[in-house]
Symmetry: C2
Subunit: 147 residues, 2 copies
């Protein structure tokens, strides 16, 4: 059955971020729709972001296009150009290699829901606000030393 | 600016379908968001489907995963298992190689809006209801003869 039944897909707030960078995403509850439905060309994450939560640490990918569409509630898109309120139906695109760190913050008092599309990155992901670097093989400090 | 401003992206109801198969999608108005925003890993089409329109001829791809999410209005998802009403927030996934022809029909009296994700197919696309085959290089009849 092609229609997606969210209630049958596990939801997790796991993160690979090392402490203390993990706390910001504890309110991010993700369902990975791609593996659940046999999609391999791209990934689709259904995300419920609780009040106060962040979608991620502010970041940009060297080799992964990303796209988000808001389904419900409100979030603030934070990127180099400023802050933009995002509501249901609003969309944003983050092409690979564009050095514009971005994330969504739920500053409202209700849940917000969005879909995030991408492909597993194999190259570096940069976090301009914190001492964190994704190398493809794992998280490191910006000088590439281990946590 | 990552946020997508739809009003700046051209909208078209062009189709490559040969007659008479083109008429069904004349009410499908598409904006291609990927090229407009530098995305190359996957394609994103913003589609406004007018009353009476179809998203496509019913089809399935040998080598292209597809995903749709409804943003507004109502459409009926038609596939081998039957008909499913889709409303804002509803999603469906169509993994490559699954021989289950699918499309969306707008049987309501208002516009419906959805996003469709995929990657350009290089292999065959099958249309179980009509004498049409996409070969990667163009449209043919099911016996691979030209139109």
């Amino acid at each position: 059955m092609p229609r997606i039944a969210l209630e049958h897909i596990a939801q997790t707030n796991n993160t690979g971020y090392p402490a203390p960078h993990d706390a910001a995403v504890a309110a991010r509850w993700v369902r990975r729709l791609g593996p659940a439905h046999g999609l391999t060309d791209f990934g689709v994450s259904h995300v419920v972001l609780k009040p106060g939560g962040a979608s991620a640490q502010r970041h940009w990918h060297e080799d992964e296009d990303e796209f988000v569409v808001m389904l419900a509630g409100e979030a603030v898109l934070v990127e180099d150009d400023g802050r933009t309120l995002m509501r249901a139906g609003d969309m944003a695109a983050f092409p690979k290699g564009e050095a514009n760190g971005h994330h969504l913050l739920n500053e409202s008092d209700g849940d917000c829901v969005f879909l995030a599309f991408g492909r597993p990155p194999t190259g570096d992901c940069h976090y301009p606000d914190i001492d964190l670097l994704w190398t493809g093989g794992g998280y490191r400090r910006n000088d590439r030393s281990s946590f």
